[in-house]
């Protein structure tokens, strides 16, 4: 975080942006796990962030897994090769996908990138870290409020994190290719977006309708 804090008054760097976006994913995923009851609610601790009370799971195994995946996500964000992150929630017994939380990542054309000389591209309108985090907070709020309309997940559920990368992206050994795990006859809701001026992230959810 230190790197981006220094940059706060100036335009955000690719690295700083990757860091913020990764952090958002961390809170977002933990929040979904809590709100959707994938992990028992007593395994969560409350944390104050983005002016919100957020829930972070203190299950060690989960946090080890998340930090591993998030580190990889951050690397890909810095390489600008990550197109999308999908959190798939499926029922353990039937393996049926119940919800798909999709985060689309776009490179902002106006964004200043470190490897780009940047002479031709205009500097992005300045956006403070606080502004960016406020946008992120609004998305998190929407995710949280979505519980009100999403159907109840009554069976024991598990989750997976899918990363959509460029076709020619080299992937580390411990990663493997996966299906998209799309829900048949789903209902979809597009939530809000946020932008760091380097990355733009759109959030949406598709879920198995209950009627």
């Amino acid at each position: 975080m230190a790197a981006s804090t220094k940059q706060e008054s100036k335009a955000i760097t690719l690295k700083g942006s990757a860091e913020l976006v990764t952090e958002f994913f961390g809170y977002g995923i933990n929040n979904i796990l809590y709100q959707r009851g994938v992990y028992p609610s007593d395994s969560f601790k409350r944390e104050q962030f983005y002016d919100l009370t957020l829930f972070v799971c203190d299950n060690k195994e989960l946090q080890d897994y998340l930090s591993k995946v998030l580190q990889q996500i951050k690397d890909w964000l810095e390489e600008n090769t990550l197109q999308r992150i999908v959190m798939v929630i499926s029922e353990v017994d039937t393996d049926e996908v119940k919800e798909r939380w999709q985060f689309d990542i776009q490179k902002e054309t106006t964004g200043k990138t470190e490897d780009n000389k940047g002479e031709t591209s205009k500097p992005p309108p300045p956006k403070s870290k606080k502004d960016i985090q406020r946008e992120m907070r609004d998305v998190i709020r929407q995710i949280t409020a979505s519980v009100t309309f999403l159907p109840l997940l009554d069976g024991q559920c598990a989750f997976d994190l899918l990363a959509y990368t460029s076709r020619d992206q080299d992937i580390p050994e411990c990663w493997e290719e996966s299906q998209a795990r799309i829900i048949a006859n789903s209902q979809e809701v597009r939530l809000r977006s946020f932008s760091t001026t380097v990355h733009k992230v759109d959030t949406m959810v598709s879920y198995k309708g209950d009627d």
Partner: protein, 394 residues
């Protein structure tokens, strides 16, 4: 028509020429015959003229008609062209309309496609030529979040130990429980046996607050008494087949004196007495010829409840057995004599028919006390004075 006109004109000219020749040739020498021919020719010529004129008129008429027709056709042609123009215009307009409709439809489809594209996008579809989906192999599943593994690793050993402790405690408690059960069972059995020995009644609990009593001296295993304790703790006698035979005792001890112990005692005494007699009767009824003294002793041992047999010192074990081994009357008598219980002169041999009757009654139906007494008196002793015990019974 024109051809005709020319033809006639030529013919006319030809005729004229011929006439001239004739004129030239024959003017000088006028010949009436020729003149006639001339006139005839002239008439013919006139006819020809007339014909030509008609034909010319006709021709003109036809020409006029033709030009009219041509005009008409020109007009029609114009009209046709006009119509054709119109038609093509209309056609293109229709086409245009059709195209426009098609265009709108396509536009709509495009919109639907756009919406679908958006929907497909949200649903997670992607372009596999540009994108691939990857996930971390290990994954993470909340299934592992069972109660035990949810505890931190530091806490886990102590929990495991605790679980083991509890298990050990549980098994020792179970063992203790088992031992206690065994002890209780043994003690209860002892107690029951003691009760049986002391009171002469075997008491079973059938269900909550219902007790079944069976006398040591019962004649049949089915002869039992049922008691039920009320909520106040009062014991009530319930009807059984056996109790229905005890009207007297019930009347005397229960109804009048309200004493169950006295009632039971009277039954004990009654059955005890009856059994003593029964044994004797049984001995007398026996009809098998194969029995030695040893076998008889066994039977008597089994039936040692009779006072008579108690005198045989070797037969004291406490046993109850309903089995009726068979011995002959003679042998029984011999045994009894040998044992010094009954002297031969005390035994009166019944006539065959009477014996059969007794045998039938003895096995099939209960004999009333009075009858029994009479019969035994009859068949046993004449000189009772030497056997006061036996006589007492009889």
């Amino acid at each position: 028509m024109k051809g005709n006109a020319v033809f006639f004109t030529r013919k006319r000219d030809g005729c004229r020429r011929i006439l001239h020749t004739y004129d030239n040739n024959f003017s000088s020498n006028y010949d009436p015959q020729i003149h006639a021919r001339l006139q005839e020719a002239e008439a013919r010529l006139k006819t020809c003229h007339e014909h030509i004129e008609t034909l010319e008129l006709e021709l003109n008429q036809k020409a006029e008609h033709a030009s009219k027709e041509r005009m008409k056709s020109d007009k029609l042609e114009v009209e046709i062209n006009e119509l054709r123009d119109k038609a093509t215009k209309q056609n293109s307009k229709q086409n245009w309309k059709k195209l426009r409709a098609e265009n709108a439809k396509l536009q709509e489809q495009l919109e639907v496609y756009e919406i679908n594209k958006e929907q497909m996008h949200i649903r997670g579809y992607y372009d596999p030529t540009k994108t691939k989906i990857v996930l971390e192999e290990g994954g993470c599943s909340p299934e592992d979040v069972s109660l035990l593994s949810k505890l931190s690793p530091e806490a886990a050993p102590s929990v495991v130990k605790q679980v083991e402790d509890f298990k050990a405690q549980l098994s020792s408690a179970e063992m203790k429980n088992q031992r206690l059960k065994e002890v209780f069972k043994k003690k209860i059995q002892e107690f029951r046996e003691a009760c049986y020995a002391l009171t002469g009644f075997k008491i079973d609990v059938i269900r909550d607050n219902q007790y079944r009593l069976q006398s040591m001296y019962a004649e049949r295993s089915a002869d039992d008494l049922l008691f039920e304790s009320s909520t106040k703790g009062e014991m009530m006698l319930l009807a059984t087949d056996f109790s229905s035979q005890l009207a007297d005792q019930i009347e005397t001890y229960l109804s009048r004196y309200n004493s169950i112990p006295a009632f039971l005692s009277s039954i004990t005494l009654e059955l005890f007495n009856r059994q003593t007699q029964t044994i004797v009767i049984k001995l007398i009824h026996m009809n098998s010829t194969e029995l030695d003294e040893h076998q008889l002793a066994q039977i008597l041992e089994k039936n040692q409840r009779t006072r008579n047999v108690r005198k045989i010192e070797s037969l004291t074990a406490e046993q109850k057995n309903e089995d009726d081994d068979e011995i002959t009357f003679e042998e029984a008598a011999i045994f009894l004599r040998g044992a010094g219980i009954i002297k031969s002169k005390d035994i009166r041999y019944l006539p065959e028919d009477e014996r059969e009757k007794l045998s039938r009654e003895g096995t099939n139906q209960p004999i009333t006390e009075e009858e029994q007494k009479n019969r035994i008196k009859e068949m046993t002793t004449k000189d009772a004075s030497k056997h006061p015990d036996l006589l007492q019974v009889i």
